[in-house]
């Protein structure tokens, strides 16, 4: 009897792990694509907030989550476009632009949310994405419930990851992206349009971050609260470094962090422990620092990462 309880508990944690990893997979894979092309998007936190706000608001007003998602993708594209304008064309410092984006994200989402829903902050709910059971597979013992009874966005995040792997490592476009991140001048000489590649890759990171943020407000929960992203944008930066700038590594990193979040929530709800809940709250942030320390290699990161490209006159 105790055995069964233990297994059910573990299964519950793993179901939550996948769900809590999903926003990090979206933002992480998007960031991998941008960083492979040499651009660090530190503005993920702000873009995720804008995504969470847009998805929830459009979903709430229109009653259609699909419409909400469409709006989220548009917001992601616009954010990416502006970020690329500043970092690729204007060649401004990527960190400074990212910081400005995060301030914008916090300010805009908070201002608009309070303006639109002033009094009912945190009370309004929408019908969030429901789980889809994949026939046959969802009946598998133990893992069926974990992997094949999730909502459409969870499946999409894994598809996004597979697509990134395919494009980055099995197509000419992927070769172009990676060469732009390693040696933009050489890529330029080969006839690759460095600016265009970087623009497209930054757009992908914008869309990934916006979708990741939206997942929090319309799929994981059904409410928007200010600062709902709570550092996940920054944690994504650590996960991508931990994953050695590769999609698979980033996926693993995101799953590990999903597990931390799930364990933390699980422990917080346990009664009668003497450890203050603050310790569990701090766990993901503490682990992020450890994750950064675990990778010291400098050679594996794209060589032109963070450096604007100036075409020779």
């Amino acid at each position: 009897m105790e055995d069964i309880q233990w297994i059910v508990g573990l299964q519950g944690i793993l179901v939550a792990t996948i769900r809590l990893a999903t926003p990090l997979i979206f933002s992480g894979i998007g960031l991998v694509i941008a960083e492979q092309a040499g651009v660090v998007n530190i503005g993920l936190e702000g873009i995720m907030l804008l995504g969470a706000f847009t998805g929830w608001t459009i979903g709430f007003y229109s009653g259609s989550l699909i419409l909400g998602l469409a709006a989220v993708i548009i917001v992601g594209l616009i954010s990416g476009l502006i970020f690329a304008l500043f970092t690729v064309t204007i060649r401004a410092n990527q960190i400074v632009v990212g910081v400005a984006f995060n301030m914008l994200g916090i300010g805009l989402s908070g201002f608009l949310y309070r303006t639109l829903f002033g009094r009912e902050i945190g009370l309004l709910k929408l019908e969030s994405f429901q789980s889809i059971e994949i026939p046959f597979l969802s009946n598998l013992p133990f893992i069926g419930k974990i992997l094949f009874q999730q909502n459409i966005l969870v499946y999409s995040s894994f598809v996004f990851c597979l697509l990134a792997i395919y494009v980055l490592y099995h197509t000419a476009a992927g070769l172009a992206i990676r060469s732009v991140g390693e040696h933009p001048r050489a890529a330029d000489t080969m006839g690759i349009n460095v600016f265009l590649v970087r623009y497209l890759c930054v757009l992908m990171s914008g869309v990934g971050a916006a979708l990741g943020g939206a997942f929090l407000s319309i799929a994981y929960t059904n409410i928007f609260v200010e600062n709902i992203v709570s550092g996940r944008g920054y944690i994504t930066l650590a996960i991508v470094a931990f994953g050695r700038w590769k999609p698979v590594g980033t996926l693993i990193g995101a799953l590990i962090f999903g597990l931390f979040y799930a364990i933390q929530l699980n422990l917080q709800s346990l009664r009668g422990i003497v450890i203050p809940y603050h310790v569990f709250q701090a766990l993901p942030y503490f682990m992020t620092i450890l994750a950064l320390l675990s990778m010291r290699g400098r050679a594996i990161r794209p060589k032109a990462l963070g450096k604007p490209y100036e075409p020779s006159a």
């Binding site: 204007i90 400074v96 916090i106 908070g110 201002f111």
Partner: protein, 374 residues
């Protein structure tokens, strides 16, 4: 890469002056001199303009909003003193950012460093409260500086030893410190007599900073901030340490080649930057709050980034941009109360300020380049 956002006359422009008439040369000279001051002003104007559009689209009257903001900031003597009260912590966090950004070290941890400074000062102010003010006040400030410097150096150490990106580590340390503060004010440091509010006990009256004008909340912390702005300017621009710091910021490889110990500089800069932010937290407790609670900083550490970037990370400029953002913060709070406009808009305006500083700098960059080809 050095964050050259504004100012700094570019060398490229000077080459093209030969063919120009003397009048246009004079005009250009005036322009070169004044754009240092124009860039921040245009950036602010642009941000307030976009803010106005945002408010208008959401059904607010921008005119009424900004007149409320202006009145809230400068309407009477009390409001003006409140602006300077709000400017004080912003000047400290702004200075913390200026020192770090000049060295191209991206300390995003001013918020956390501010909090540990506040915690240390509260602890000293409560537990050593029996000491006379002339010992206690310097002591509590030293404690705040030390705490902030240690928090900064932790991230600095992780950077030089493990090559861990300081942007991420400082932000994670912020979260840890803020969670820690919540723990302290609900647990170990919670006031014993009160059981409702999560806050610490009052610090001893001996630990209070003297006020400049007795009827207002303005205290000598503001004067300390002014003096430190000047000291930091001298340190960065007039000493050999400052030279090494800036050299590391502009080109670390070249600095290393010139036998500068860039790792040591990074550690020192993080300690200095953290110490300044910690002192800001210390002065906020000793001069104003007089006790610790979980939002003793409503984001002063983050505001410091905009404060510093607006004036191209120049400590002397921080004095002015600190007051400007203090006015924005103080005025937007009054705007929220009197006109019902959420003050969180302030954060968006700061983001736009930074982007417009960059955009305005870029406009100049492009026009200079064109002239260079003439």
């Amino acid at each position: 890469m050095q964050p050259q956002l504004s100012s700094g006359s570019s060398g490229k422009a000077s080459h093209s002056k030969i063919n120009k008439t003397s009048l246009s040369r004079d005009l250009r000279f005036v322009w070169e001199r004044s754009k240092k001051f124009l860039t921040p002003l245009v950036a602010i104007a642009l941000a307030l303009g976009i803010g106005a559009v945002l408010m208008y689209l959401n059904g607010y009257s921008p005119l009424r909003a900004y007149s409320t903001l202006w009145w809230g900031a400068f309407g009477n003597l009390r409001n003006i003193s409140e602006v300077l009260v709000k400017a004080t912590p912003l000047m400290f966090t702004g200075l913390a950012m200026a020192v770090a950004f000049r060295a191209s070290i991206w300390n995003m941890g001013a918020e956390g460093q501010f909090f540990v400074g506040a915690i240390a000062t509260t602890w000293v102010g409560i537990h050593l409260g029996y000491l006379p003010p002339w010992i206690l006040i310097p002591l509590e400030m030293a404690a705040g500086i030390m705490a902030g410097a240690l928090a900064g150096m932790l991230a600095g150490y992780l950077k030089v030893r493990f090559n861990a990106n300081e942007v991420v580590t400082t932000i994670m340390i912020n979260y840890l410190i803020i969670i820690g503060t919540n723990y302290l004010v609900t647990g170990p440091m919670k006031e014993v007599t009160q059981d409702s509010f999560p806050q610490s006990a009052l610090i001893s009256a001996n630990a209070f900073l003297p006020r400049i004008v007795p009827t207002t909340r303005l205290n000598i912390g503001f004067l300390i901030a002014i003096v430190l702005s000047i000291i930091m300017y001298l340190l960065i621009f007039k000493t050999s340490f400052g030279y090494a710091l800036r050299a590391t910021g502009i080109n670390p490889e070249a600095a290393r080649f010139a036998r500068m110990d860039t790792k040591k500089i990074a550690l020192l800069v993080m300690a200095l930057s953290g110490g300044l932010a910690g002192l800001g937290g210390s002065i906020e407790i000793a001069g104003l709050a007089h006790r610790l609670f979980s939002n003793v900083s409503p984001g002063y550490g983050w505001d410091g980034i905009a404060v510093s970037l607006l004036v191209n990370n120049n400590p002397l400029g921080v004095m002015f941009s600190g007051i400007l953002f203090g006015a924005l913060r103080s005025g937007s709070e009054i705007m929220q109360i009197n006109a019902g406009i959420p003050s969180v808009l302030n954060s968006a305006i700061q983001g736009i300020v930074i982007l417009s500083v960059i955009a305005f700098g870029a406009y100049r960059f492009i026009s200079n380049k064109k002239e260079g080809k003439e």
